[in-house]
Amino acid sequence: MPTVKLVIKEPLEKPKIPIEAEIISPDKFVKKTLAEIGELSVWKGNREMALRELFHLSGDDFLGDEIADISILLEGNLAKLKRVGQQMTGGTIIINSSIGMHVGFQMKGGRIVVNGDADDFAGANMKGGELHITGNAGHYLGGSVRGDWRGMSGGKIHVKGSVKNECGVWMRNGLIEIGKNAGIFLGMHLHRGIIIVNGNVIERAGAEMTGGIIVIKGTLKELLPSFEFQRTVPELTLPDYEVIKQPFIEYKGDFAEKKQGLLYVAKEKNAHLL
């Protein structure tokens, strides 16, 4: 597997200026030599820079013709590195650090692994592929960028830690699974697709959802008044997902919208809602 490793040259101070790094993607590196990759340009603020000015590059001299075979490794302080893996269709990006905003924006295929935290808009408008985040994620995970009413429309996102607000906003399809807790407005405007939260949510889950499924295995402290109790289920069967063997309370909503969304909260942890 042809691999390229990019280690960011350690900045003297904490980086302030974002780097628009949509060029870091297997689709852009394919059929290029290491030297050619080094010449690809990124914008740091209003300055255009070559990748080699920002990164130490190492790895295979030539990355081959197959996007799917390419593996990109990123290391260093990447907190201001934005849009890594944008629109990628295949291959792998492994990030051994925390990463800036818009990682995997509009990605269509392949795999991104973030061994750290991801900033806001991770996996925004994602169409396919997989995004794994071992740390926490910011706001708008798997959501839509500003103004777009069609958010994530396919693929899978898996976060081991917690996420902040508006996770899965305007989501159209796909699966988001969160290991710990989620912020407010989980699955806002959800249209289709599944969001599973293993931890707790404080409030406003499923606001204005018009379809899709939200599953909360922990506590939902407060339910929106525009959700209607349906029934309790002993176990939960979801499309393309293993059966969750625990009892859930089923709600329908959001009645402020088209009432076709389903919200499941774990029965034993949410007696206060009944």
Binding site: S144, V145, G147, D148, W149, H189, H191, T210, E257
Partner: protein
């Protein structure tokens, strides 16, 4: 060289440009040290003229604010000659100018300017580089006229219109859903030419007829520019026909051969009683226009793409928003949208819309625009348009030209769209293919003539030196079968020359001069204006939130202008 106004249909010929004008070859002397452009094997035509594109003003800006996602991935960097820009269906001002230059267009008109928002419109027009521009003043629901339509005589109306055109820096009278804008302020719409406008005695028929008469009396360069009532709704071809018929008797001024311009006629040529039996009546409308010489039109072609609809017809945008609740691409609760009212004058709405090939209504709409144009016998009275950005961004004009020039292109598209396009329109039977000369006619010459811009749309001596040079890279006689070459060629001009200056060549904008703003000064006898002066002052004192003194757009808004002064006959 293709220039139908001067009867050039592919002749090899030299033209000479001195300063900003086209001059006889003999006028060029050695000391001019002229630059020579070798255009052998290339196609030379006048710069494009777009007579209907929403490129500036409050609703365009509202569209920009409503649609940040439209700007996200489409952007161009600044260069030595250009500023940066973003956007697709609602591009930023600078980018709009560059995009037109790339297509070889040198003139575009903003067709809906509420007088109260004239400053905003002109501020944006000022920022649009390269192209010449102008704006049409909305007059379809002006309270001053609505209140007095019964008692006011034609002279007083003419005085008012002439004053308002001058105050707003407008080019012509634009009527959008006449009377309907005001009715929409009360939550209703007008469905019939003889419906009363809410709380007024006026009817759309009176508004249209009287303003058409005013237009002819004032001898304005363009006719009234009319967006018909019931636009966008199935079965509206009847009201469109009735509207045209009602104007048959309006006498023509000496300047005009027509007395009404039906704009984006595609949206006004619908048959059927609902969306289920929605069908084309383009042939019916084209038949009327072929027979009756007093009507001109632009087509308002739709493109299968993600775009932003925006119009002063707020009532229609509300209906459209409702329709989006049932469309797969839209949120289940309907698309985001905005609506606005302009006090005493107009209203507006903006709704994002995606035209889909597999949507039967969209497929029929696509066919109607082409069907209409290809059914027109007299191409001097029809111009292409997409009603940018309503039917699609203007950057798709090359695609439209390829559909018009090649039946193969249409056939291939027809195979990809919903079968309704075959069943409910005649597009499949049309074999007509426009020649390059005819393309020049419908993309430049007609628009310039209909607008009364004598220096545009042709390459004769005295014309503005606006020239577009295209390279199709294939023999011209094979273009009809090679439609991708048509699209490619028109999409990226080899040279665009604006008033004698090369502004675009070889894929780059190389100069970004300021274009002219065309506006009209219609002379009326002084005493006519005096007669209505008190009434105007009272109107502002009582009802406007601005004072009369702050209303008119001042000269600073026209850094370069060409004032067309008209005399009454």
């Amino acid at each position: 060289m293709y220039d139908p106004i001067n009867n050039l249909h592919g002749e090899r010929k030299d033209i000479a440009i001195l300063n900003s004008q086209i001059v006889p070859l003999s006028a060029i002397r050695k000391e001019h040290n002229a630059k020579i452009i070798d255009a052998s094997n290339l196609v030379v035509m006048p710069g494009g003229v777009d007579m209907h594109a929403h490129i500036a003003g409050p609703k365009v800006n509202a569209g920009r604010l409503l649609r940040p996602e439209d700007h996200l991935l489409i952007h161009s960097k600044k260069t030595a000659a250009t500023r940066s820009g973003v956007g697709r269906s609602v591009p930023s001002t600078y980018y709009t100018g560059y995009a037109y230059a790339k297509l070889g267009y040198t003139c575009a008109m903003e067709p809906a300017m509420p007088p109260l928002e004239a400053r905003h419109t002109h501020e944006e027009l000022m920022d649009i580089p390269i192209i010449d521009k102008g704006a049409y003043t909305l007059l379809g629901s002006n309270w001053f006229l609505l209140e007095r339509i019964k008692e006011m005589n034609l002279n007083e109306m003419s005085a008012f219109v002439s004053w308002l055109l001058e105050a707003s820096g407008g080019y012509t009278i634009k009527l959008v859903n006449p009377g309907g804008e005001e009715t929409w302020a009360w939550g209703k719409n007008i469905n019939n030419l003889d419906d009363k406008v809410a709380y007024f005695k006026a009817t759309p028929r009176e508004i249209i007829q009287k303003l058409a008469r005013v237009n002819e009396q004032l001898n304005l360069p363009h006719t009234i520019h009319l967006h018909t009532n019931n636009l966008g709704t199935p079965g509206n071809f009847e009201i469109t026909k009735e509207t045209m018929r009602s104007l048959k008797e309006v006498p023509l001024s000496k300047k005009h051969k027509t007395n009404v311009h039906i704009t984006h006629v595609q949206f006004s040529s619908y048959g059927g009683r609902g969306w289920q039996d929605f069908r084309s009546e383009a042939v019916e409308i084209a038949h009327y226009i072929n027979k009756n010489k007093h009507v001109s039109c632009d087509i308002g072609q739709i493109i299968f793409t993600n775009t932003t609809t925006m119009t002063a017809d707020g009532a229609w945008e509300w209906v459209l928003r409702g329709i989006t609740e049932h469309l797969a691409w839209s949120p289940r609760s309907g698309s985001k949208w905005m609506n606005a009212q302009v006090e005493l004058e107009s209203c507006a709405g903006v709704v994002p819309y995606i035209f889909r090939r597999k949507n039967s209504v969209n497929a029929v709409q696509w066919a109607i625009g082409l069907e209409f144009l290809l059914s027109m016998k007299d191409l001097t009275r029809v111009s292409i348009s997409t009603d940018h950005p309503n039917g699609g961004p203007f950057t798709f004009y090359p695609l439209i030209l390829s559909w018009l020039m090649s039946k193969t292109a249409r056939k291939e598209m027809l195979a990809k769209v919903d079968k309704a396009a075959q069943e409910r329109t005649t597009i499949a039977d049309i074999t007509r293919e426009l020649t390059l000369s005819e393309i020049v006619q419908v993309s430049r010459a007609s628009a310039a003539t209909l607008l009364g811009l004598e220096s545009k749309g042709h390459l004769g001596v005295g014309a503005d030196a606006d020239v577009a040079i295209y390279d199709f890279k294939v023999p011209l006689e094979t273009l009809a079968t090679n439609y991708r070459a048509i699209e490619k060629g028109f999409a990226d001009a080899r040279y665009t020359i604006k008033e004698g200056q090369i502004v675009y060549s070889n894929g780059r904008v190389i100069a970004s001069p300021t274009g002219k703003t065309f506006r009209v000064k219609a002379q009326v006898p002084e005493d006519w204006r005096l007669q209505i002066q008190d009434a105007i002052e009272e109107r502002f004192l009582k009802h406007y939130t601005v004072s009369l003194n702050n209303y008119a757009v001042q000269p600073e808004y026209f850094p370069r202008e060409e004032v067309i002064e008209t005399q009454m006959l």
